[in-house]
């Protein structure tokens, strides 16, 4: 995973819970450009812990002068977003990975419909900037509960094809109306809570949309759970995974060499073979197939957990 140290040059509150961070190269070097939908992984040295969180880029993909992300403070989360909100100040330097895109626009689309729920607006902002630059046809639907919480409003330009739906004000997003009567060749991109993605998929299926025209990204943080133990086949060592830790983080803490990229169950980099499993793997990823999930022969350490007597993995 290639990465470089970047300096925090701007911090701005977009809403009470969401802050925008801008990073630039300390020597003024141009950063690699990217494509709309890409994310970076931010490393946060928090005491003895090295936290690593993935955040979608919201800045202009064509602009290499800096990267920007928007971070929502999750008070019930594992601590990464709280660290960003409370411990990171202007002038600090953090290690930021090279962008990677697991949610890119389909260049074949005749039109793009971008649907975002809550903080799921972040990758859509960069996709919008790319579409504006390419002069492609698109529309955006952004749903939030309260205007005061809708950080995306500060990032979206006022244009007739960009719509905000604030449910608290009685304007609920009507997926049926959005997806009906779109021209043939339209692609839909959804980012937000799992429920929104499922609702778009179901509505699109009912209206006869081809499955290949639907794209989505769930921003998956490693879910907490009960502590569990894992045995490493190569060394015979046993590693304990804490309730708020992911298996990947526990492996890293134990100095086990393991490749990773998105840390959210989507990219496939940390895929690990299961040697023996007496119990049930709690698969939380979007990478393995249903067959692989049910056979319990593979696990994605970044998001998946285990309950049972014994799990031996090929590490």
């Amino acid at each position: 995973m290639s990465a470089q140290m970047l300096r925090v040059t701007e911090i701005e509150a977009l809403s009470p819970l969401v802050k925008r961070f801008r990073f630039e190269h300390p020597g003024g070097k141009k950063l690699p450009l990217f494509s709309g939908g890409a994310h970076v992984v931010v490393e946060m040295p928090d005491g003895d812990l090295l936290r690593r969180n993935a955040y979608s880029l919201i800045s202009d993909p064509q602009d290499g002068s800096g990267y920007e992300i928007a971070v929502r403070r999750e008070d019930g989360g594992r601590g990464g977003s709280r660290f960003m909100h409370s411990n990171v100040g202007q002038g600090d330097t953090l290690r930021i990975s090279t962008p990677l895109n697991l949610f890119s626009l389909d260049a074949r689309a005749r039109k793009h419909v971008l649907i975002a729920g809550g903080i799921g607006i972040t990758p859509i902002i960069a996709q919008m900037r790319q579409l504006l630059r390419m002069q492609d046809r698109f529309e955006i639907h952004y749903a939030a509960r309260l205007r005061s919480e809708a950080a995306g409003l500060r990032l979206l330009p006022r244009l007739p094809h960009i719509h905000s739906h604030i449910s608290d004000e009685g304007d609920r997003m009507d997926l049926g109306a959005i997806l009906d009567r779109q021209p043939i060749g339209t692609h839909v991109y959804t980012c937000g809570p799992e429920g929104l993605i499922t609702a778009v998929a179901q509505c699109a299926a009912r209206l006869g949309w081809p499955r290949g025209s639907l794209h989505s990204e769930v921003f998956l943080a490693p879910p907490p759970g009960r502590a569990f133990e894992v045995t490493l086949a190569k060394s015979g060592r046993t590693v304990t995974v804490g309730p708020h830790q992911s298996l990947l983080e526990a492996l890293e803490e134990a100095q086990v060499e393991i490749d990773w990229s998105c840390r959210g169950g989507a990219c496939g980099r940390c895929e690990t073979d299961v040697v023996s499993c007496h119990g049930r793997i709690e698969h939380n990823d979007h990478w393995l197939s249903e067959d692989e999930h049910s056979s319990q022969t593979k696990i994605m350490p970044c998001v998946s957990r285990f309950r049972g007597r014994e799990l031996i993995i090929d590490r």
């Binding site: 690699p32 450009l33 494509s35 890409a38 993909p61 990677l100 260049a107 496939g268 980099r269």
Partner: protein, 347 residues
């Protein structure tokens, strides 16, 4: 560094030749005395100084002649260069990548000046001095991919990445080892590799695809592939098989060293920033057996590899008919001594 460009041909009188320096830096593909498929990827972009792996895009003494040969092939068959409509942005990505790399790595040959979207490109070996607007195709004489690949050695496949697969949807292919862009265009990674024997059963393509999908910007990779070609011909395409296929039958014990070439492909993989596509340059290097055996390690090793190669691979690579002649010729340069590890000549 100054490069003396050869005046040479890759067809008709086949005046192609390697200087002694070009022989020494040839990308010999075998790191041991036998060969089997492997996902033999390694990082690309800063290899051994002087080798074809030193720079992102190698420019060598054959540059000008290769570009002339490409022009002839394209004139006869314009479908060697195709780009589906949605691949234009990836074409601009590729243009930027090549212009940046060449102007940084070979400043005496190429220069690029940028003022926002107004770009000025100078290619001294080909006598090109051009001002254009980035992302505005009307300011270039060809589409962006065609424009830049008429100025870059090797074939180029430009792949779209979607639905967990790679799709060959643009390319410039005039120096290929018997495959056709016109046939493969629109295919996904598994479809265009369907004819390759053995590797599917070995799970090679599943592993390779996972690797390629995860290639990051600024972290290109490379691998070497190889085959055998009679005469130094770049255009060994299925479309022109009637021209080069019969030449396989012109090999005799007397002319094998001179007419039989080892053909090596330096395959590289670059993530494209704006389009999230993947550029797949396939650079072809040719060396006659008589030149190759001037490096004793290579003569010994190539003899052992060709002699012991599984029949399916010789068949797929298309040299079964000449294999006895090649093995006979090379055996004269194999004294049975052990060879050192790695691909480079012994000092």
């Amino acid at each position: 560094m100054t490069i003396q460009f050869n005046d040479e041909t890759f067809r008709d009188d086949y005046s192609y030749h390697n200087s002694p320096a070009a022989i020494r830096r040839f990308p010999f593909p075998f790191d041991k005395d036998d060969y089997m498929y492997a996902v033999n990827m390694e990082p690309h972009g800063s290899g051994r100084a002087g080798s074809p792996f030193e720079n992102r895009f190698d420019v060598d003494e054959h540059y000008v002649a290769e570009m002339r040969d490409r022009e002839i092939t394209l004139k006869e068959d314009p479908l060697r260069c195709q780009s589906l409509p949605h691949m234009e942005l990836a074409g601009w990505d590729l243009l930027e990548l090549i212009m940046e790399a060449k102007s940084e790595d070979y400043p005496e040959l190429f220069s690029l000046h940028r003022d926002g979207d107004r770009w000025h490109w100078i290619n001294r070996p080909l006598g090109i001095d051009h001002k254009f607007t980035f992302l505005d195709p009307t300011t270039l004489p060809y589409g962006p991919m065609e424009y830049i690949t008429r100025q870059a050695q090797g074939d180029f496949a430009v792949l779209d990445q979607r639905d967990g697969n790679l799709w060959m949807e643009a390319g410039m292919v005039t120096s290929q080892a018997d495959w056709s862009l016109d046939f493969d265009i629109g295919m996904n990674f598994f479809e265009w590799h369907a004819p390759v024997p053995l590797a599917h059963e070995m799970g090679i393509f599943q592993r390779a695809l996972k690797f390629l999908l995860a290639i990051q910007q600024d972290a290109p990779s490379r691998r070497l592939n190889w085959t055998m070609t009679v005469n130094p011909r770049l255009d060994t395409s299925p479309e022109n098989y009637h021209k080069w296929g019969p030449e396989k039958r012109t090999l005799t014990p007397e002319n094998t060293g001179e007419k039989q070439y080892l053909r090596v492909e330096l395959q590289t993989f670059f993530r494209l920033p704006r389009s999230n596509g993947l550029a797949f340059p396939i650079r072809c290097y040719l060396i006659s057996l008589q030149d190759l055996v001037t490096v004793p390690k290579w003569g010994r090793r190539l003899h052992r590899v060709i002699r012991d190669l599984p029949d399916e691979l010789a068949e797929y690579k298309g040299f079964t008919v000449n294999r006895p002649l090649i093995v006979e010729y090379l055996s004269r340069f194999d004294d049975g001594k052990p060879t050192s590890p790695g691909i480079f000549p012994d000092e």
